[in-house]
Amino acid sequence: MTTQTIHASPAPEPSRPDSSGDRVKGGLLDPKMLVRSLPDAARKLNPATLWRNPVMLIVEVGAVWTTVLAVREMTAFAWLITIWLWLTVVFANLAEAVAEGRGKAQAATLRRAKQDTVARRLVGWRPGKAAPVENVPAPELRLGDHVVVTAGEIIPGDGDVVEGVASVDESAITGESAPVIRESGGDRSAVTGGTKVLSDRIIVKITQKPGESFIDRMIALVEGANRQKTPNEIALNILLAALTIIFLIAVATMQPLAIYSKAGNPGVPNTTALDQNGVTGIVLVSLVVCLIPTTIGALLSAIGIAGMDRLVQRNVLAMSGRAVEAAGDVNTLLLDKTGTITLGNRQAAEFIPVGDVDETALADAAQLSSLADETPEGRSVVVFAKQRYGLRERNPGELGHASWVAFTAQTRMSGVDLDGDVDGSSAKDRSLRKGAATAVADWVRGHGGHVPPAMGDVVDGISASGGTPLAVGEVVRTDAGSTARVLGVIHLKDVVKQGMRERFDHMRAMGIRTVMVTGDNPLTAKAIADEAGVDDFLSEAKPEDKMALIKREQEGGRLVAMTGDGTNDAPALAQADVGVAMNTGTSAAKEAGNMVDLDSDPTKLIEIVEIGKQLLITRGALTTFSIANDIAKYFAIIPAMFVALFPGLDALNIMRLHSPQSAIMSAVIFNAIVIIALIPLALRGVRYRPSSASKLLSRNLYVYGLGGIIAPFIGIKVIDSIVRFIPGIS
C-alpha cells in the first residue's frame, strides 16, 4: 500500500470542433497522420489480422502469388504490378490505421487523467457519523466503498456524492474548463473518477466495479478496442462477399474459355497477358483485384471508426456502433421542453397595465420591484424593462431610503419600500410588490385597495395562452392616508431558443417527427409547441407517460431517440432506441442510455441523428462508387487480355490505352490510388444536408454513381499516358 499521492497533471483541453451552423462537419485529415500511421498499416499486413477483411485478404493472397511469379519471370511489368498490389493492401490498412490513430490520441489524453490516485477510504461510514480514514490505491476500491475527497484532490472513482457540496473540474473528460457543482441528493450527485475537486469536501459512494470506470470505458471506446461490426456493416459485408465471390468465379471460369480460345488460334503468338496456359497469373490477379470491391472493402472499417470519432469530437460517447446507426434511423425525437426547446427559464415578455396606469410607469414599478429578486424570472423583468422601455437598471444602492424585500417562497412576492419624495411626486412613502397574482391581490386588498376585475381578465388570458402572469401592486402613503392599487400584470413566458423552428423544419424534411415533453399543462404546452414548431407534444408528462409514449411509437415500427438525466429517466432511456444521457445526470441515467453527452447539451440529439445518417450515406456512396468503377476497369483489361486473339475486341478499348500492359497496369494503379484518394472522404463523411430522401438520393446517385462510372475512365487514361513511358511497359 503506497502512501504517495500522485496528482494528475491537468489534461490539455481537447480541441473542440467548430460548432457554428447546423451542418455536420468532420475532422480534417492531417497528411502527417498518414506517415505516422504507416508502421501500423504495415503491421496490419499480418493475415491473422487481415482475415477480418476478406476482400483485402484476397488482394494480399493475390499479391503473394504475383510476387512468386515476378521472382520467376523477372520482368518490369510483373514487378510493377506486384508492387502496386502490395500498395493496394497497404493503402487499405492505412485507412484503418489513420482512423484508429485519432482515437488513440484521444485515449492518451484520457489515460493521463486516469493515473493512479490514492483514495481515502472511510471505514464503516454512515451518515452523520465520523469514520476512520485509511489510504488505499484507487484500483482497490470496491463497489459501495465510501471515500472522502477534499479540495485539490482527484476523485478516485465513479460514484455518487452522499454528503457535501463541491465544485468539480471535469475538464479531463469533457474538455470544459468551467467547474460544475456536485452535491448530495438529486440529479447532480454523480461524479466521475479522474475529475478534480476544486473546493469544499465531499463524501462519495463508489458505484463502479474495479476497472470498469467511466474513463476506462471511454478509453476502450475511443480506441475501438472491442469494436464489433454493426448490423448494417454486417449486411454490407454480406453484399461485398457476394460480389467478391461472383467476380472470383467470373475470372476463374474465364480460364478454360481462354485456353480454348487460344488453342483455336494456334498462329497467334503468346503475349504477356495470354499464352497456351490461358491468361497469365499476373493478369488474372490484376483482373480479380480490380473487380472485387476493394475501394469500399478498404474503407469500410475506417468509415465506421470515423463515425464514432465524429461523435467523440462533439463530446458524445456512443457505447456501441449500433447506437450510432440507430440514430440515423430515428423516426421520433423526444425532446424535453426545458433546456432543449426553450431556454431554461421563463422570461418577461410584456407589461400589461390595468386601469389608467401608464405603461412606462408600470415598467418602472416592475423594474424597481424586481431589483431585489435574484430569481431568473426576476432578472428577466429587469432586462426586459431595459430592452423595451430603455429603463436603466438601477443599483439598489443608488436609491436612498429604500428597503428591499427579497422574494421568498412564503410571500411569493418581491419588492421595495421607498421613503420620502422619490420621483418628484408629492408622495411620501411608496411600496411596490411584484409576485404571484393572488399574492399581490391579497396584499393590495390588505392595504385597503381595490382589485379591479380587469386584472382577473388579464391574468386569466395570460394563463390561457400558456404564460405565467405576475402582478405588480403599489401602496402609496401620503399624509392624507394611503391608497393601494394594482398597476398591472407582467406576462412571463417560455422563450424558445433561437433557430429551433428551422431545425425542426429540417427534421421534418428528413422525415423525423419531433415530440416535446413537458410537465406543463396542455394549454401552455400547446402554445410553446406551436411557437417552436414541433410536430407533437406530451403535456403533464410523468416518467411513466414518457415510457408509454416510447413503447407506443415502437409498436408502430418507429425508432425513438431521447435525452435524459434524472434517475427517473433511466427506464425510458433504456427503452429508447437511442438514449442520450447527460453527463451531469445520475449514474443510473448514464448506465441506462447508449450514449453520453459530456457537454450535457440536450440539443445535441439533433446532431447525433445527422452524424448517424452521414455514416450510412458514406457507406452507401462509396459502395456505389466502388461498383460503378468496375465498368471502366473491364473496358481497360478485357480488350488488353484478348486483343491479340480477337483484334475486333480493340473496339472495346474505348479509352484508347497505349498497350495491353499499360492498360492493365493503369487499371491496377488507379484501383490502388483511389483508395488513398478517398481516405479523407471516408474519415470526414460525405457532405450531408438535411433534406428529403428523394433529394439526397438523386444528389448522391449523381455524384457517386455517375461520378463512379466516369471518374475511372479519366483516371485510367491519365495514368496510362504516364506509365506508357516506363521501359518494359510499352
Binding site: 454486417i234 424534411a509 408502430g556 478485357i638 486473339l645 438520393l697
Partner: protein
C-alpha cells in the same frame, strides 16, 4: 410496308395489348390469391390430396411442400417416360432412354422445358398430354405460388405465415391457367394449329421422297407452353413448326400469351402490398429492360453488315419467311426475356450480337418480365439489392415497402443472386475444359463457345431454349444440364421463400419523408441500372470470348 415498319407495328401493338390487359388481369389474380372462398372443384382436389386449404404455412413448410411436390412430379414423369412402351397412344415409340428421361423429367418440372429429344419422334400422345402438358400447367403454377408467398412476405406483418402452397397451386391451375388456356387453344386452332389424335401420315414430297407427318393434340399443348412460360414444343422445330405456330398473327398471340402473366403479376403485387404505385414501378423496370432488349435484337438482326445479311437486307438465315426477320427477333427476345424457351427461329443462326442479346436476356435472371412467378420474385430481389445500396445513400437502414433489409435479408438475397451465375459459369467452364464435351459443338472458335454458354445459361435460368448446333443428347450434357436446371430452379425458390419468411416477421416502418421512395422514375432507372451492371460485370468475360469476340469487327 417495309419490314421495319411492320416490325414496329407488331411490337407496338403487343405493348398496347399488354398495357391494356395487365391491370384487369393483375386485379383478377389479386382476387384469386387473396380470396377466402374455395370453388367446389377445388374442394374436391383438396380432399383428394388430403390438405386443409385454410391452414397457413411457415416459409420452411411452404418450401418443403414445393420441393416434395416437385420431387413426386419428377419421379412420376421419369417413370412415365421409361414405361412408355407399355402405355396407350405411344405411337409405337419405346421407353425413353434413362439419361433423356431424367433430363426431360427435370426439365418439365423445373419449368425449363429444355428438350434433349425430338418431340415428334420420341414421345407418344399420352406422355405428351398427361405427362408433359400436365407439368406445363403445374410447374407454371408452382412459380406463381412461390411468387405469391414471396409477396406475402412484404404484405404481411409480424407473422410466420406465408399462405398455403397447395391452395396457391390449385388456384393458379384452376382459376388462372386452365380458363385462359382453354380459350386461347380455340383461338390457335382457328389460326390453323392442329389438334387431333390422328396416326402419322406418310406423304410423298415434291422431290419424290417420303415424309412422315405426325399430328396430335398440338394446340392445347402449344397454349400452355406459352402461357406458362414453359417452351417445350410438341415438335422438335417448336414454334417454327407450322402446326404449332401457323401464321404471323398466331405468332403475335403466342408472344402475347407468354408475356401476359409475367407482366400482370406486378399489378397483383401492387394490390397485395396495398400500394399500386409499387406495382407500376416494378412493371416499369421490366418493361424498360424488355423494350431495350427488343430494340437491341431487332437492330442486330436488321442492320447487320455481314455479306449475306447485307445482300438480303437482314439476317434472314434460320428464320421462317412467314414471320420475317423482325417478328422472329421479337419472338426471340420475348422467349428469352421470359423463361419460356420456345423458339420460332434458330438463335444459333442469329448474328453474333443478336445471339448475344438472347443470352444476356437470360443472364439477367429472366426478370423482364421473366417466367410466370419467377420473374416477379427475381425482380423483387433485384429491387431489394438496389434498395440496400440506394437506401444507405439516404442515410437510413435500407427498407423496402417498410421492411428493413438487414444482414439476414441480404444473406438470402445475395445467395439468390449468386446461384444462377455460378451454375452458368462453372458449367460452361467445366464443359469447355473437357475435350469430350467440346466435341459436341457444331462450330469451332467463339461461336462454339457461345453454343455451350447458351446451353448452360438456358438451363440454369430455366429457359429451355437452345442455341442449336450443340449436340446435347449425350449422357454428360443430359446430366450436367439436368443438375443446372434443378439447382437453378429450386435453390433460388428456397432462398426467396426464406427471405419472405424473414420479411413477414417484421413490422413495417411507417413511410416518412426520410423513406426512400420506391415508386419514382429514379428508382425504376436505378433497379434497371443495377440489374444491367451487376449482370454485365458478371458475364462480361464470358461474353467477350463468345458473342463479342465473334461479333465485333474492325
Amino acid at each position: 410496308m417495309s419490314s421495319t415498319t411492320a416490325g414496329i407495328l407488331f411490337i407496338g401493338s403487343l405493348v398496347i395489348a399488354l398495357v391494356a390487359v395487365h391491370r384487369p388481369f393483375g386485379d383478377y389474380m389479386y382476387r384469386v390469391f387473396t380470396s377466402t372462398r374455395h370453388l367446389r372443384v377445388e374442394r374436391g382436389l383438396y380432399r383428394l390430396i388430403g390438405v386443409n386449404p385454410d391452414a397457413e404455412q411457415k416459409w420452411s413448410v411452404y418450401a418443403r411442400s414445393v420441393l416434395a411436390f416437385s420431387l413426386v412430379s419428377v419421379l412420376f414423369l421419369y417413370a412415365f417416360q421409361r414405361l412408355q412402351g407399355y402405355l396407350l397412344l405411344n405411337l409405337g415409340f419405346k421407353g425413353v432412354p434413362d439419361h433423356i428421361a431424367w433430363n426431360t423429367a427435370i426439365s418439365f418440372v423445373t419449368n425449363t422445358n429444355w428438350q434433349a429429344y425430338s418431340g415428334e419422334s420420341t414421345m407418344g400422345h399420352l406422355v405428351q398430354m398427361s405427362g408433359l402438358a400436365v407439368q406445363n400447367f403445374v410447374s407454371a403454377a408452382v412459380g406463381i405460388a412461390v411468387a405469391m408467398a414471396f409477396v406475402r412476405g412484404f404484405a404481411r406483418k409480424k407473422t410466420d405465415e406465408l399462405g398455403n402452397f397447395w391452395t396457391d397451386l390449385v388456384r393458379a391451375c384452376v382459376r388462372v391457367l386452365l380458363p385462359i388456356a382453354a380459350v386461347a387453344a380455340i383461338v390457335l386452332i382457328a389460326g390453323g394449329a392442329v389438334q387431333n389424335f390422328a396416326d402419322p401420315h406418310t406423304v410423298h414430297t415434291v422431290a419424290g421422297g417420303t415424309q412422315t407427318i405426325t399430328g396430335g393434340p398440338v394446340a392445347s399443348q402449344e397454349v400452355i407452353k406459352e402461357l406458362g412460360t414453359n417452351g417445350g414444343g410438341f415438335y422438335n422445330a417448336n414454334s417454327a413448326h407450322p402446326f404449332e405456330n401457323p401464321t404471323a398473327w398466331t405468332n403475335w398471340i403466342e408472344i402475347f400469351l407468354l408475356t401476359m402473366i409475367a407482366f400482370s403479376l406486378p399489378r397483383t403485387f401492387g394490390r397485395m402490398v396495398g400500394d399500386k404505385r409499387q406495382g407500376y414501378a416494378i412493371v416499369s423496370v421490366m418493361a424498360t429492360l424488355a423494350v431495350l432488349s427488343v430494340i437491341a435484337i431487332n437492330v442486330a438482326q436488321l442492320a447487320h453488315h455481314g455479306t449475306v445479311p447485307t445482300a438480303v437486307g437482314a439476317a434472314a438465315e434460320g428464320t421462317e419467311t412467314r414471320f420475317g426477320v423482325s417478328n422472329s427477333a421479337t419472338f426471340a427476345a420475348a422467349t428469352t426475356l421470359t423463361s419460356t424457351g420456345a423458339v420460332n427461329s434458330f438463335h444459333d443462326s442469329y448474328t453474333s450480337l443478336g445471339g448475344g442479346v438472347t443470352m444476356l436476356n437470360m443472364m439477367l435472371g429472366e426478370v423482364a418480365p421473366g417466367g410466370v412467378g419467377s420473374g416477379l420474385y427475381g425482380m423483387l430481389i433485384l429491387a431489394v439489392i438496389t434498395v440496400f445500396v440506394a437506401g444507405l445513400m439516404v442515410g437510413r437502414t435500407p427498407e423496402y415497402l417498410g421492411k428493413k433489409i438487414g444482414g439476414r435479408e441480404m444473406k438470402f438475397a445475395s445467395m439468390y443472386f449468386l446461384v444462377t451465375p455460378v451454375i452458368v459459369l462453372v458449367g460452361t467452364a467445366t464443359a469447355m475444359a473437357m475435350p469430350g464435351q467440346r466435341a459436341s459443338m457444331l462450330n469451332t472458335g467463339p461461336h462454339g463457345l457461345s453454343e455451350v454458354l447458351y446451353a448452360f445459361t438456358s438451363a440454369a435460368n430455366n429457359n429451355g431454349s437452345a442455341f442449336a448446333g450443340l449436340t446435347v443428347n449425350t449422357p454428360w450434357y443430359d446430366t450436367a444440364l439436368g443438375l443446372a436446371m434443378v439447382f437453378g430452379r429450386f435453390l433460388p425458390m428456397v432462398f426467396a421463400l426464406a427471405l419472405a419468411g424473414s420479411l413477414a416477421r417484421q413490422s413495417p416502418t411507417p413511410v416518412s419523408e426520410g423513406t426512400l421512395p420506391t415508386h419514382r422514375p429514379l428508382f425504376v432507372g436505378m433497379v434497371a441500372g443495377v440489374t444491367l451492371i451487376l449482370v454485365g460485370l458478371t458475364f462480361f468475360p464470358a461474353l467477350a470470348l463468345g458473342p463479342l469476340a465473334e461479333g465485333i469487327h474492325q
